[in-house]
Amino acid sequence: MALMKQALVGFAAVLLLAPALAVAGAPKPTVKIENPGQCIAPAEEMRRNHMDMLKHQRDRTMRQGIRGEKASLNECISCHASKSSGSVTGKDGFCQECHSYAAVKLDCWDCHQPKAGQKHAGAAGAKP
């Protein structure tokens, strides 16, 4: 009986320790924040919910024409674009690093401009 109890305790200890060990040993994505400061929500919330924020905002902007919401891809790049490449994709790209790590396909930037400082539409004036 005592042996069984010991075994159980040992098993419980392994169960408790295993995640901690796994986290400590696992490689992590290298996320470089170029412009440290306050994001629109705490980092934990952003990590978990940024996709929902952006998805709901995109539907309101696209279909109802509501602009200037808190969540915005253009605002993402203005803080998070890499200083070396100017982009949130590619090597060291803020978005790309985590998405590659998590093996989640990142297709926002197939259509949206991933580089900061690109000329905004209308900036040059429409006159020929």
Partner: protein, 247 residues
């Protein structure tokens, strides 16, 4: 000219949600908010169904060989890619030269999405990507466009094009990309800021008048009430937002 109220279910749900959120905040005690007011942004109201954007194009002023509107459109919307096959190039607005063989009278006019009140492209879209905003602007929601190109077939004006290659030089406010259909948006990113579409601003002859068809005091509504104008393929009864004069 009265456009039927386009209260989509999605729009209703959105409004209902906003209403509930507002009640939630109001019901709480002073100083206690569900959403911190200090963090709340002030988004715009969005497109309103009281407005219907339209354009009146005076073809008698439109000069043959002038493509200022096309160039302005390309600059504004980041249409800068080179395509291998010219037939695959994006064409949000194009110039058309017409000649009446009987009397030799020539016309030159820009042709683009006519922003129909009853758009065939929206009717045929299998995913709901092709859509009409409350203010009458017909758009493609690229997030759900599957690139089937049914809308390109349905459009009587050949106003839509398909992106056949990966793009990298998009303007930040005008996302576009491989595998989606696209067309004139009336420069929705400018209209939402209170500006005219790029083509209307660029036309050296001032041949393109942009405005609210529903506002009786707008220049476009007054001119439409006073002067003769035509819809291209009026027989299709699409109630186009773009009207022409002199054709």
């Amino acid at each position: 000219m009265n456009e039927p109220q386009d209260k989509s279910r999605r729009g209703f749900i959105g409004t209902a949600a906003v209403g509930t959120a507002g009640l939630g905040i109001a019901a709480l005690a002073p100083g206690l908010h569900l959403i911190q007011v200090s963090q709340a942004d002030t988004p715009t109201q969005g497109a309103s169904s009281t407005v219907r954007w339209g354009m009146l194009i005076d073809t008698t002023k439109c000069a043959s060989g002038c493509d200022a509107c096309v160039k302005a459109c390309n600059t504004e919307n980041g249409i800068v890619e080179t395509v291998k096959d010219a037939r695959q190039g994006a064409q949000w607005i194009r110039k058309i030269e017409l000649k009446d063989p009987k009397n030799g009278r020539e016309h030159s006019l820009p042709m683009m999405c006519q922003h129909c009140a009853n758009p065939p492209c929206v009717d045929v879209c299998p995913t709901g990507a092709s859509m009409k905003r409350a203010d009458g602007i017909v758009l493609v929601d690229r997030h759900i466009c599957i690139g089937c190109r049914y809308c390109m077939m349905a459009c009587p004006y050949k106003a839509r094009s398909f992106v056949h290659q990966p793009l990298t030089e998009q303007n930040p406010e005008v996302p576009r990309g491989l595998g989606c259909v696209e067309s004139c948006t009336f420069c929705v990113q400018r209209v939402d800021k209170g500006l005219k579409p790029a083509c209307a601003e660029a036309c050296p002859e001032g041949a393109m008048t942009f405005g609210d068809l529903n506002d009786p005091n707008s220049e476009i509504a007054q001119r439409l009430a006073r002067e003769a104008s035509t819809q291209v393929r009026a027989d299709l009864k699409l109630n186009t937002g773009v009207r022409y004069q002199g054709i």
